[in-house]
């Protein structure tokens, strides 16, 4: 009986072992790309048009870059210009290709205690949150969103390390988990628009500020250098890149809406 069960089990193991398939590649993407639902739309179309099975690793920009450096993925799709430039300068990717953009929004309690909805700029909105010490949840995970937030605090010359945890909370988590935290604490939080619109646990949170060009959020595709990591699937990664900037993908991205709102503006060429 025991051997019978074991035999069945190993048969199952062998059967479910990945068969040699057409083409596979690993792509590390930011949480916003996935949480927005866009990946769910694009992956089947990628498979249909190019035959590529894209294995998606949903991580923050910081971790995506780390995976690229180690050669554990074939390409990355991230949104943090400075970190991308450093990645290219170190030779881990030959270039970056812009795919699309959306924007960051400031979300907070319904009553808007810091009164950021009348702010004239993103910097002013941040300053008001800081001055009123209104609870604010930060990603705190070196993701693109987090780096952007840090840059905004830095622009008003406030050092986040001097922020006290009674109002400034670094969640150290992905966008969704951070939104969950903010929702539970009824705190301000900066999110990319796509993740915010798709988020299902909004609670008493409302979108209060958006529109400053500083909050522009460009997504770029970086194939990992096959000089640096010879095992990387360079050809497959380029094939996917060409598809992403092609008209089919760009139209799909541009027409993707949630509740009638456009989430991304394609700008690949």
């Amino acid at each position: 009986m025991k051997y019978f069960l074991l035999t069945i089990w190993f048969g199952f193991l062998l059967h479910s072992a990945p068969l040699a398939q057409a083409e596979e590649m690993r792509l590390a993407v930011t949480t916003s790309f996935h949480n927005s639902g866009l990946s769910k739309l694009l992956l089947p179309k990628i498979k249909r048009d190019t035959g590529i099975d894209v294995h998606l690793l949903v991580v923050g920009t910081g971790q995506a870059l780390k995976l690229g450096r180690a050669g554990d993925v074939d390409a990355i799709l991230v949104h943090s210009r400075l970190a991308e430039d450093a990645f290219i300068a170190d030779g881990f990717a030959p270039y970056r290709r812009e795919i699309m953009y959306n924007d960051f929004v400031l979300v907070g309690p319904e009553t808007d205690p810091a009164n950021i909805q009348n702010a004239t700029s993103a910097a002013q909105a941040f300053e008001r949150i800081w001055k009123t010490k209104s609870p604010f949840v930060s990603r705190g995970d070196n993701s693109g969103t987090h780096l952007k937030e840090m840059a905004l605090w830095a622009s008003m010359s406030s050092d986040t390390s001097s922020f006290t945890p009674d109002w400034y909370r670094a969640a150290g988590a992905g966008m969704g988990a951070t939104l969950n935290t903010a929702s539970a604490m009824n705190a301000y939080v900066m999110s990319d628009r796509a993740s915010w619109l798709k988020f299902a646990n909004k609670g008493a949170l409302k979108l209060h500020y958006s529109g400053d060009p500083v909050l522009f959020n460009q997504y770029a595709y970086l194939p990992v250098s096959d000089d640096k990591h010879p095992h990387v699937q360079g050809a497959v990664a380029r094939k996917l890149e060409n598809w992403l900037v092609g008209s089919v993908a760009q139209n799909l991205i541009g027409n993707y809406t949630i509740n009638g709102q456009h989430l991304f503006t394609p700008n690949g060429q």
Binding site: M1, L6, W9, F12, L13, S16, P18, R26, T31, N35, L43, H55, L56, L57, V58, R69, A70, G71, D72, A173, G174, M175, G176, A177, L179, N180, S183, K198, F199, A200, N201, K202, H229, H231
Partner: protein, 234 residues
Amino acid sequence: MNDLWRGLSEAVRLIVSLDAALIEIVLRSLQVTVSAVLIASLIGLPLGALIAVNRFRFRRATIALLNALMGLPPVVVGLIVYILLSRSGPFGVLGLLFTPTAMIIAQVIIITPLIASIAHQAIRDLWAEYHDLLISLNTTKRQRMATLIWDSRRSLLTASLAGFGRAIGEVGAIMIVGGNIDHVTRVLTTAIALETGKGDFGLALGLGFILIALAIVINLTIHTISQTERGGRW
């Protein structure tokens, strides 16, 4: 509270509709965890017997270490296995990172000390009983270990099931080494973490209830097949 009801109804909906995605991740959860439990049992049960039967210099220290390793933090195991299997790590050429195999490796490391510790405890008690008999029959060490393992098989089943329990609910390590890739390395626990991140508590809880139900069904099945708790076989 509302979320709990939504979770329950979501669980029922997923099961009744035999959701294809659900079946896939349930099967993968079982594939990874049962493989890990089989391998860890093959290592841990003989190891427990070995320590029980043999007298050697650092025996006490080994037992203490094994007990301490029962609390091995999964996240750290995941990170170490990740670094070892990464393309820039020593075993990078094998290309195992982000595969179910990597997840099995991590889980084997996590549950082997647990299985070995419980096995050692059970076999040591039986060894105290069998000691004089087995010595007087002039058995070899190997024969003694085999006899003890066979005669304490019901306790050892508990050891393996404890390992199963720890592995099936584990998320920290397999998230890191598996990467939670859809259709490749997504299992129940990583799917729950993902849905929680999306704020979809209903679906996350639904999957959670299914995970708990799965653990209960597996344990009941094993106990039924191996006919424990039957009259005269306490």
